[in-house]
């Protein structure tokens, strides 16, 4: 569904990505793990056109989307949940969700999606009129996910959904991600929490200072000696 070929990104003189290749097949959960500064977020941001690509190509459903603008990419069904949730704190939950469905002008389809989001996140439904900024971290993450679902993504890209959340909430969020995936949405997940991510992923990539150093199925990577040492803290 999404294919990245030889993606390089430079920030000024710094090489953030040094030519990575990735493949995200339809209907799967793919994860990209790595330490701080490995280039995980840069990869996602390049896909949606928020970061300028130095070289390389990105294909989505067989079409070259390299260098297209963000608005067109979002409309074609790739939705990014940015790092740190980035909900709109001064707006109500309802308004946040409305903005998530910004590209959909048809009221009927919009209402259906809202209904869908409310079934996935009953917590949001209870609090539609509450200001999003008053939410706890976990609820904000749910809102961020719900807001992304309002755009009816075919490919949902999550940038560190576990950031700053309590372990129990993280578990909850990851279950929700699996539910979303089962409803037919392809998921590309970026995580520092390698264990949690690899456990639910069908396939994983390990990124290290701009290069992909390992790839394999989630289970394979979890049992890989190097991964265990470097990312799971298990010798």
């Amino acid at each position: 569904m999404l294919k990245i070929e030889g993606l390089t990104v430079n920030y000024g003189g710094i090489k953030a990505l040094k030519g990575i290749d990735m493949d995200v097949p339809e209907g799967k959960i793919i994860t990209l793990v790595g330490a701080n500064g490995a280039g995980k977020s840069t990869t996602l941001r390049s896909v949606v056109g928020l970061t300028k690509i130095t070289s390389g190509k990105i294909y989505y459903q067989g079409q070259n989307i390299t260098g297209k603008n963000t608005v067109d990419i979002v409309r074609s069904g790739i939705v990014l949940v940015p790092e740190g949730r980035r909900i709109f704190p001064n707006l109500t939950v309802y308004e946040n969700l409305v903005l998530g469905g910004y590209c959909e002008k048809n009221k009927k389809i919009f209402d259906e999606r809202l209904e869908h989001v409310c079934t996935v996140f009953p917590r949001l439904k209870e609090r539609l009129k509450q200001k999003a900024g008053t939410f706890s971290g976990g609820e904000q993450q749910m809102l961020a996910l719900g807001r992304a679902l309002m755009a009816n993504p075919k490919l949902l890209m999550l940038d560190e959904p576990s950031l700053g959340l309590a372990p129990l909430i993280v578990k909850n969020i990851f279950e929700i991600i699996q539910t979303i995936n089962k409803s037919g949405v392809t998921v590309l997940l970026i995580e520092q929490n390698a264990k949690a991510a690899l456990e639910i992923a069908d396939y994983g990539y390990v990124l290290e200072t701009g290069n992909i150093v390992l790839k394999g199925s989630g289970v394979e990577l979890l049992s890989n000696e190097n991964v265990r040492k470097a990312y799971l803290g298990i010798a």
């Binding site: 980035r86 709109f88 001064n90 903005l99 590209c103 409310c118 807001r147």
Partner: protein, 352 residues
């Protein structure tokens, strides 16, 4: 009372009618000094809303409002002044021939002025809106000064530092409040729709807004252009209320006055701007007694010019301390606020 859309619409129309009647009575019975203050209130509502659109709603910290108002004021003035009056004004250097004999009606002059200001806002915005926050403020402030300096030196178009005198006093209560009303209705309409929501999303979080498929740059430009358009009209109205304009009128202080209205009323609140425009304009006038000599029994002071500004600043500080987000915050004094929320029937799944 039934709490629905129709009641609200009737209430809104009734309120507008009431304001209309009050204005009519004011027009009949008040003297010209008081009328001038009421006029100023109306104009400052338009101007406050225009800056609130740019700064309060879209989050673009722009300090170029005086410049836009100058463009609007000069355009309207030059378009409405009769040829003889122009000849009288331009005694140092004659006016350029293509402007010498132009004379259009006040309404069209205002619309043209707004459009030209909007165009200039667009041209300035296109390069400048790539900047953010303080940098944007400095850049727009710079452009506003550039406009003023250009107007000071374009002797044969703007009459330079001499300014334009004897403008026909077209601005009446109906003009100033008419445009204020149109601005209020326009803003209320805008922020019900998707454009308004996109503006607010950009203010809240640009990256998230962009990730949602909102074209950031286009919406920023749009907001800036509409804001400039309104500022141009406000400038035109102000020019014909004052009767005299010169480039010195459009210094930073003017931008500051409007910024004050926006911040005091609450950034991102239409009703807040309306209330604070009226409060600020009226109190600026009624605090004038502070400039005069005062007698405190124990000691007497001679008139201290500028004393009211000191007091006014103090009042402002107190308001900012206790209402950090302005009088209204980003809330609206709407019918929902007064009557309680509408029974919105969202099509939501029932709780099990």
């Amino acid at each position: 009372m039934k709490n629905d859309q129709k009641t609200r619409r009737i209430l809104s129309i009734a309120l507008i009618a009431l304001v209309g009647i009050v204005l009519f009575l004011c027009n009949q019975y008040l003297d010209s000094y008081q009328l001038r203050i009421i006029n100023l209130c109306g104009i400052y509502i338009t101007l406050g809303l225009s800056l609130n659109l740019i700064y309060g709603f879209t989050g673009l910290f722009s300090l170029g409002h005086a410049g836009f108002m100058a463009v609007g004021a000069y355009t309207t003035a030059l378009l409405t002044m009769p040829p003889q009056l122009k000849q009288m004004n331009f005694f140092l250097e004659p006016i350029v021939p293509w402007l010498a004999n132009v004379e259009v009606g006040f309404f069209w002059a205002l619309i043209i002025a707004g459009s030209i200001t909007g165009l200039i806002g667009f041209l300035i915005g296109a390069p400048v809106l790539k900047l953010r926050d303080d940098y944007l403020a400095i850049a727009t402030l710079g452009f506003s000064e550039i406009i003023r300096i250009v107007f000071t030196n374009l002797q044969n178009v703007t009459n330079g530092p001499l300014g334009l005198k004897g403008l026909p006093p077209y601005t009446t209560i109906w003009w100033s409040w008419g445009f204020a009303l149109v601005s209020i209705l326009f803003m209320a309409y805008l922020f019900k729709g998707s454009y308004g929501r996109a503006f607010i999303a950009i203010r809240e979080d640009e990256i998230a807004a962009e990730a949602m498929g909102i074209n950031i740059f286009r919406h920023k430009i749009l907001s800036f252009t509409i804001g400039s358009f309104m500022a141009g009209i406000g400038g035109g109205l102000l020019a014909h209320l004052m009767g005299t304009i010169d480039p010195l009128m459009f210094r930073f202080l003017l931008t500051f006055n409007i910024l004050l209205i926006v911040v005091l009323g609450g950034m991102g609140s239409i009703s807040g701007t309306v209330i604070s425009a009226i409060v600020v304009t009226v109190s600026m006038e009624y605090l004038r007694f502070l400039d005069g000599p005062m007698n405190f029994l124990i000691f007497k002071t001679d008139g201290i010019p500028g004393m009211r500004m000191v007091i006014f600043s103090l009042l402002l500080m107190i308001v900012i301390l206790f209402f950090q987000r302005g009088l209204m915050g980003s809330k609206e004094l709407s019918w929902d606020f007064i009557l309680g929320p509408k029974d919105k029937t969202l099509n939501l799944p029932e709780e099990e």
